[in-house]
């Protein structure tokens, strides 16, 4: 049976045009669904892989208070992954299937997590800069056209803001500590500044999907717009903290009312995207090991549930 999709598409376009939300039961163009699956899955994967670089320091947290804060944060990331995988399930793809795609390298996650965490200050830098950049990217997504995604994003953004403040607060506390601690903060910021800028994606000229995604309301600002916003937001925060960014070209442009800044190393960016970053292999191997090691537990849980149902039906 051939369905005439024209009126459906018209209704879809009208919903988008009115700024209303598409819900799981609504008709949607296949390409919209596929683009959303890719984007939401990538976001979910980023939360899950993102547990590793910070999780690396849980067992070495230098105070019990910080240990609790970090544990709770990494736990929140697992929670975010959970919401987002649920959102993709409303689009017809299971968490299991997406995990397989991640492990097999068929789906990506945010490249920032392919950088190593080398000192405890990195926990702070990730909170401040990485979560900060993520929020810039994500706040507009709270108004994204797909309902479940938008609602997940509202909750996630709220928690991310909290994480960002915690990260900044850690760095601020360290800056009030010893000279070694201050040097540790500066060194960490030096390492994370450029990768954080790369989180907004390649320059607009090299970002082919942006136009379609903006039309569909899945994306609401260009990469370069968001990057500029992030720089403008971060510079005064760095000043308050007492650190500098490792960019000699960074300076206020009176005319534009914005900061000028240097170019990230896009060659490095593409290398990391392509899988050759410092930690890509390690991150995927870690995720794969956890998934494989847990297989027997998931199977046992399924078998147990099946037996319980069978008993009920007896």
């Amino acid at each position: 049976m051939q369905v005439d999709e024209a009126p459906l598409e018209k209704a879809f376009d009208a919903t988008i045009g009115a700024g209303d939300r598409i819900e799981p039961r609504d008709w949607m163009p296949e390409k919209y669904r596929q683009t959303l699956i890719r984007q939401v899955a990538q976001h979910a994967h980023s939360e899950i892989i993102g547990m590793q670089p910070e999780g690396n320091w849980i067992t070495r947290a230098p105070s019990l208070r910080r240990k609790a804060v970090l544990l709770a944060k990494v736990q929140d990331e697992a929670g975010h992954g959970l919401y987002l995988y649920s959102a993709t399930e409303t689009l017809g793809v299971s968490r299991d299937e997406l995990t397989r795609r991640l492990i097999e390298g068929k789906q990506k996650y945010s490249s920032i997590f392919n950088y190593p965490t080398l000192t405890y200050a990195d926990v702070g830098s990730i909170g401040w800069l990485v979560d900060g950049a993520a929020i810039c990217n994500q706040v507009p997504l709270c108004r994204t056209s797909y309902g479940p995604y938008g609602r997940a994003m509202i909750r996630i953004c709220k928690e991310e803001s909290f994480h960002q403040r915690q990260g900044y607060e850690l760095l601020m506390t360290m800056m009030r500590g010893t000279d070694e601690q201050r040097a540790m903060v500066q060194e960490s910021v030096n390492r994370f500044w450029w990768p954080a800028l790369m989180m907004f994606g390649p320059p607009d000229g090299d970002s082919p999907n942006t136009a379609q995604s903006m039309e569909w309301g899945i994306k609401r600002h260009t990469n370069d717009e968001l990057r500029q916003r992030f720089v403008d937001m971060s510079v005064p925060q760095a000043e308050a903290l007492g650190v500098t960014f490792p960019d000699p070209e960074l300076q206020w442009n009176e005319e534009r009312g914005s900061y000028d800044f240097g170019e990230p190393d896009w060659d490095e960016f593409w290398q990391v995207v392509k899988g050759n970053g410092p930690c890509n292999t390690q991150r995927i191997a870690h995720r794969k090991a956890a998934y494989d090691d847990g297989a027997w537990v998931r199977e046992a849980a399924l078998a147990f549930a099946a037996k319980a149902r069978a008993d009920e039906n007896d």
């Binding site: 067992t59 609790a68 601690q181 537990v297 199977e299 849980a301």
Partner: protein
């Protein structure tokens, strides 16, 4: 007060050390739901450890490691990060290196059942701080035990593989159970005699095992060394390795602010 401090160290170290083992599971659990749940367990225990170590330090400041003058490191962190392995008072079961998920479930079942029984009695402790810590902890530990019990029964009734692993886990955990019940004069004097809850703990464990159709392994308890075990600072080789990792950043910055 010195005895109360020692008692709080024992309970605090159990929580701190086992929280470390649980926290090592982060990003490694069989599924996201368990990752979140295990982080919750670890968070609860870190919380209990903080309160108990702080209480220990307040009861007897002489146990708190001395740091360079002017160091802002709070007492709870001095105790957690600046003591040597031989100064820790946790039972050896808390420090055993992680095995698989069946080992997590089995060990958690034992430790939380036992700790819950102690904490239920400590709610009526004359020390108001200990009493309050226990009241809060009872709710947490009841959840820990339920989580462990549910999974224990699930693995017992799941697949032949899960049952085999659970059997192995029980063989690994059971030799460390007698130490839990042996107790010290300190526990008997200012806290709860573990021997007094051993029966109750045994009944609960038997119930869970019965639901899962599992039998307790017939294995002897791990020997003490000249009468000493974890409570007397006689630990396994694993503890000093754990502490090397746990304490490394704090110790590199004895004047640090975090």
């Amino acid at each position: 007060a010195a005895e109360l401090a020692q008692y709080c160290l024992m309970l605090g170290d159990d929580a701190l050390v086992y929280a470390h083992r649980l926290s090592e599971w982060t990003s490694r659990a069989p599924d996201l739901e368990e990752d979140i749940a295990i982080a919750n367990l670890a968070l609860d225990l870190v919380g209990q450890a903080r309160l108990l170590l702080a209480r220990a330090a307040a009861a007897d400041s002489s146990i708190v490691p001395v740091l360079p003058e002017g160091s802002p490191v709070p007492d709870e962190d001095r105790l957690a990060f600046f003591r040597e392995a031989g100064d820790f008072r946790n039972v050896r079961l808390a420090e055993t290196p992680n095995g698989d998920f069946a080992e997590l479930v089995t060990r958690l079942l034992v430790l939380s059942t036992w700790r819950l029984a102690i904490f239920e009695r400590l709610v009526g402790h004359p020390d108001a701080v200990v009493s309050a810590i226990a009241a809060k902890g009872v709710k947490e530990l009841a959840y820990h035990r339920d989580f462990a019990g549910r999974w224990f029964v699930t693995l017992a009734g799941g697949t032949s593989e899960s049952r085999r692993r659970l059997t192995d886990a029980m063989r690994a955990v059971w030799p460390l159970i007698p130490e839990l019940g042996e107790g010290t004069d300190t526990e008997r004097t200012v806290g709860v005699d573990p021997a007094a809850v051993a029966l109750e703990v045994g009944v609960v464990l038997d119930q869970v095992l019965a639901v899962g159709g599992m039998t307790a392994p017939d294995v002897p308890g791990l020997a003490r060394v000249r009468g000493r075990a974890g409570r007397q600072g006689m630990h396994s080789e694993a503890l000093s390795r754990m502490l090397a990792e746990m304490q490394v950043v704090a110790r590199a910055h004895p004047r640090g602010r975090w």
